[in-house]
């Protein structure tokens, strides 16, 4: 495997930093090198709080990446800011419950997933970040989903342990959506809201 990276962004509180931490934790469990670099500037209170996770079999050089191989966005400001920076062929996961527009990147694998609906189906709205993480893992195949599931169980302990079953369910729903993603160049997925794309 060659190294890869993903930027995960959303409003502060939408759980992107935790989603990134779970991915980093899982990669560490798999014996890979990893870095988790959060934005800690003023965007923590804005719409583009984000974390960059790099995963590689080799030691990580720059933990700061400006043209990403993966992107997970919870909201419109994050999509607008980061989607143009994704490398061709990259994976973009878009939360359609808050984003009503197109990623406008025909050269990338775009996964459109309704994080809110899937999390609700899994039993908790808190797990929207895990739906998104699952969709990214499913589409990018960066790690076996089981590795992330172990990380979820290891991170959510103590009072948070009660969220493990719903979290795992939400994550698996995301993985299924990610695996169903169409390759680069294929028509927009059928789950795209009709008549809303800008293209």
């Amino acid at each position: 495997m060659r190294g890869t990276d993903v930027l995960m962004a959303g409003f502060g509180g939408q759980g992107m930093l935790l989603a990134g931490k779970l991915l980093a934790h899982a990669a560490l469990n798999e014996g890979l090198e990893v870095s988790w670099l959060p934005s800690y500037g003023p965007e923590m209170r804005g719409g583009t709080a984000n974390v960059i996770v790099c995963v590689s079999p080799e030691p990580i050089g720059s933990p700061l990446i400006t043209s990403h191989r993966g992107l997970v966005v919870m909201n419109v400001p994050s999509l607008e800011k980061f989607a143009p920076r994704v490398r061709p062929g990259g994976v973009i996961v878009v939360n359609t419950s808050m984003i009503d527009r197109d990623a406008d990147r025909d050269d990338c694998v775009v996964v459109r997933v309704d994080a809110r609906a899937e999390a609700e189906a899994a039993g908790t709205l808190k797990a929207q970040n895990l739906v998104m993480l699952g969709a990214y893992v499913g589409a990018s195949r960066v790690l076996p989903p089981e590795a992330v599931e172990r990380a979820i169980a290891e991170e959510l302990t103590g009072r948070k342990a009660r969220f493990v079953p719903a979290s795992l369910d939400a994550f698996r729903r995301g993985v299924a959506a990610g695996r169903a993603a169409l390759p680069v160049g294929a028509a927009p997925s059928a789950t795209a809201p009709s008549g809303r794309g800008e293209r």
């Binding site: 931490k21 988790w36 050089g61 720059s62 933990p63 700061l64 400006t66 172990r150």
Partner: protein, 379 residues
């Protein structure tokens, strides 16, 4: 879709743990036998005191949140004077406030460790990573003819390794040691490994620390004095000569660096980058990037900023093929640049690329600078 809800079975936990740089530094300090921490919160290093306030009492140590950085460093002066292993940490504006105390600690020849998790300046500046405190770290802080040993990690693991060693160095030279990183290393999580056993035996009985003079057997040792006031010019001159001899010894024994020539060790190069800390990691990726395109670049990374690895850098410059240039890259407006020029002594063209304010150059941006340095069109 699978509806399994049970967690998969746990696997054997690897020895490495995922930690933020700041927290990892805190743990490393405890493992090194540090028992007292005095500090005042400031972004982006607050996780260090936050970690130690929980952790130090577990090992019988003490955490004190001082009323200011001025108080913190003077508490360090007091505890170090007692022969107790202690430290403080701060970020740029806070380090400025500690300047006077550091001068006193160096003058009194006391060991301690100071972490500077640099942020953007000058003034209150910003909270994002920068390297604008290079002059401050290597050329003084406070007044007088003194130096501190400065270690500059470029990963969380290296921060831990250097932190473990910092106390040893401080005690070997009876001098402050500064671990100088930036907000990115403090805030980033990476896998780290700690040595199984703490390295630091309690500092215990020193032949210079203050404290109780009467031993358990009733014998009394001679009075000791920790002082930085010398009113006799001859005595103060002698004191300065003694300090100078110590710094010369440090300069002989402690310079450290890494030379990176891509995946292939000892590969030839036409341009030599110089960068430290976070900037060096970004440059490493840039070196890999341009090497894939057939450009032969290498990176020299000082690990000790003071003493600066002058001889090693000069040797690395002499190894540049032909009349290839040196490219110094910093998250500042050009500070280490002066040491790089000193190492070159006019023998090489020294180019510079720098950003400030918390703007961190990307690997692509550095790669473009490398292309320009080699006379290629920037991409």
């Amino acid at each position: 879709m699978s509806q399994r809800t049970a967690a998969p079975p746990a696997v054997e936990r690897p020895r490495k743990v995922l930690m933020k740089g700041n927290e990892a530094l805190g743990e490393a300090a405890v493992r090194a036998g540090c028992v007292h921490f005095f500090g005042y919160p400031i972004t982006p290093q607050t996780e260090i005191p936050e970690y130690l306030v929980k952790r130090l009492p577990e090992v019988g140590g003490t955490f004190v949140q001082a009323e200011s950085e001025v108080a913190s460093i003077n508490m360090v002066l007091g505890a170090a004077g007692m022969g107790i292993r202690c430290m403080t940490s701060s970020s740029s504006p806070g380090i400025s406030l500690m300047a006077e105390g550091m001068s006193y600690i160096a003058a009194c020849e006391l060991p301690c460790v100071i972490i500077n998790m640099m942020r953007a300046g000058p003034g209150l500046g910003g909270i994002l990573p920068a390297q604008g405190d290079y002059f401050q770290a290597t050329r003084g802080h406070g007044h007088g003819d003194y130096q501190v040993l400065v270690l500059a990690p470029s990963s969380v693991q290296e921060a831990v390794d250097l932190m473990l060693e910092a106390f040893e160095l401080a005690e070997r030279y009876r001098n402050p040691v500064m671990v100088c990183a930036d907000g990115m290393i403090g805030q980033m999580m990476e896998p780290v490994e700690f040595p199984g056993e703490g390295r630091g035996p309690p500092l215990g009985a020193t032949d210079w620390g203050l404290g109780v003079r009467r031993g358990a057997d009733g014998t009394e040792r001679p009075r000791r004095v920790v002082n930085s006031l010398y009113l006799s010019p001859e005595e103060l001159h002698a004191h300065n000569l003694k300090l100078k001899a110590k710094y010369d010894d440090m300069a002989r024994r402690e310079p450290r660096h890494e030379l990176y020539t891509g995946a292939d060790a000892d590969a030839p190069y036409d341009v030599l980058l110089v960068a430290f800390g976070t900037m060096a990691r970004i440059c490493k990726t840039a070196v890999d990037e341009v090497r894939e395109a057939g450009l032969r670049a290498a990176l020299f990374r000082p690990i000790t900023l003071n003493p600066f690895p002058f001889e090693a850098l000069r040797a690395a410059m002499d190894a540049i093929e032909g009349d290839g240039p040196v490219l110094d890259v910093e998250m500042s407006m050009g500070q280490m640049l002066y040491d790089v020029r000193l190492a070159a002594l006019g023998s090489r063209r020294v180019l510079f690329h720098g950003t400030a304010g918390g703007v961190v150059p990307s690997p692509d941006e550095v790669a473009s600078e490398i292309r320009t340095a080699l006379g290629r069109a920037p991409r």
